[in-house]
């Protein structure tokens, strides 16, 4: 579904991604773990070209996204993204957050968009907040809203960039549960996360990134129980205590 070919990204002199070639298949749930500064988020943000790769390519549904004349906006509709800091739209109501792109880009009627939005909001327990502005929501509620906002575009894949890192501890569970439900529903997911227990539970494959490369990858069992690379071992021994 998504393939990266020798993906490289530099910010000025700093090379953050040092050539990543990876394939993500439909239905996979991939967790990306690794120390901070290892390039996890940059890699994720390259998948929908939020960061433009310095060289290499991203191929989505057989289309090279870096090619000339590619309408990236059309492809982005099919790749939902959830951010660490939620980035919900504060000037719109909860409902409008979810309907905006549907009406604007999918050319749905306001009514159809509202109906779908309410259906999705019900799934994450935000029905009674539909008419509120996001400032009245807790962090966990904002993040659930952000997930629903992305889902409303019926994406083929969901990209999560540390979705629980900015949450108070008591709110992490409610957000992880929503992601879990998505996974159970068969959604293809790529998740950058520091929640090792969660990664182990939901992933079909775990990528360990270090220093701009994928150092090691495999099933959660392989990575967490018998990591081969010394770097993976060192990292896991620090985070799994």
């Amino acid at each position: 579904m998504i393939e990266t070919v020798n993906l490289r990204k530099s910010f000025g002199k700093l090379e953050v991604l040092k050539g990543i070639s990876e394939k993500i298949e439909q239905g996979e749930v991939i967790s990306i773990i690794g120390p901070s500064g290892s390039g996890k988020s940059t890699f994720l943000r390259c998948l929908n070209l939020l960061e433009r790769p310095t060289s290499g390519d991203v191929i989505f549904d057989g289309v090279s996204l870096t090619g000339k004349g590619v309408d990236i906006n059309r492809h982005r509709q099919k790749m939902g993204m959830v951010f660490q800091l939620f980035n919900v739209f504060p000037h719109l109501t909860v409902l409008e957050n979810v309907t905006l792109a549907q009406v604007l880009l999918k050319k749905k009627s306001k009514q159809a968009a509202n109906q779908y939005a309410l259906e999705l909001l019900a799934r994450v327990g935000l029905t009674d907040k539909a008419e509120e502005h996001p400032r009245r929501l807790s962090g966990g509620q904002k993040q659930r809203l952000a997930i629903v906002r992305a889902l409303a575009m019926d994406p083929e894949v969901m990209l999560f960039d540390e979705p629980t890192s900015a949450l108070d501890p008591e709110m992490v569970g409610e957000v992880l549960q929503v992601i879990k439900d998505l996974v159970l529903g068969g959604m293809t997911c790529v998740i950058v996360t520091h929640e090792m227990g969660f990664a182990r539970e939901v992933s079909s494959r775990v990528l360990f990134m270090d220093d701009g490369r994928i150092e090691e990858q495999g099933s959660p069992g392989m990575i967490f129980d018998s990591p081969q690379s010394p770097r993976t071992q060192a990292f896991l021994s620090k985070v799994l205590r």
């Binding site: 939020l50 906006n73 980035n87 739209f89 504060p90 000037h91 604007l104 992305a150």
Partner: protein, 225 residues
């Protein structure tokens, strides 16, 4: 000399209150024209500055720097003499020439206000909108601008207050504003300080009450966030 101070002020007011009132009206009108069209032009300049097409952004930047780097009085003289020379067929009035100079000046400052207002919107908002599939224009119109307006409006209110004071320079050309009223009264009553006090109080009342309005408006915007 201070013996007659209060009686003199009373005399000045009694005789020329209508002139001061008219002057205050012209000052407000001039300020309003300046800020209104300055905002239109300034917003346009701000968009030009953000353009990815280099010559456009360089042109806008040069304009802003030039206007902000030269005195307003110089610009007033420049437009006052240049416009009738270059566009004689328009038959521009003094008032029109002065207005144009003022609004050109204000547009450079408004440009920076708009630019700062847009930049103050968290870049995560743009990223979230773009990942939904909105293009750059839709993102600007639907997501960034509505939030930037909250930063921009109070600053524009303050610009209006500033412009009210700056229009006094336009009295150099006797365009009927408050400061022109002062010159008239000074000439006809041979009094220097008294009318100055009167005009000063009027300016202060205008700017003080306006900045209070702006401040309360700003508080209202904040709470609605």
């Amino acid at each position: 000399m201070f013996d007659n101070f209060i009686p003199n002020i009373t005399r000045v007011l009694g005789k020329y209150w209508a002139l001061f009132l008219q002057g205050a009206g012209y000052t407000l009108l001039l300020s309003f024209i300046t800020v209104f069209f300055g905002t239109v032009l300034g917003s346009f300049l701000a968009l030009m500055r953000r353009s990815r097409f280099k010559p456009v952004s360089v042109l806008a930047t040069a304009y802003v720097e030039l206007i902000r780097g030269t005195p307003l009085l110089l610009q007033l003289y420049f437009f006052y003499f240049m416009l009738p020379e270059v566009l004689p067929m328009l038959n521009l009035s003094k008032f029109a020439c002065v207005s144009i100079a003022l609004l050109v000046n204000s547009s450079a400052y408004v440009c920076e206000i708009v630019r700062a207002g847009i930049q103050a919107v968290d870049s995560g908002q743009t990223e979230a909108a773009r990942t939904l599939g909105l293009n750059a224009r839709q993102t600007m119109l639907r997501i960034v601008m509505p939030q930037a307006v909250k930063n921009i409006l109070p600053a524009l209110g303050n610009e209006f207050v500033t412009v009210i004071k700056e229009t006094s320079l336009a009295s150099t050309f006797f365009v009927g504003d408050l400061m022109t009223g002062y010159s008239t009264v000074r000439g006809s009553m041979y009094l220097v300080l008294e009318p100055l006090i009167v005009v000063g109080v009027i300016y202060f009342l205008l700017t003080f009450s306006l900045s209070k309005v702006v401040a309360s408006f700003e508080r209202r915007l904040k709470t609605s966030d």
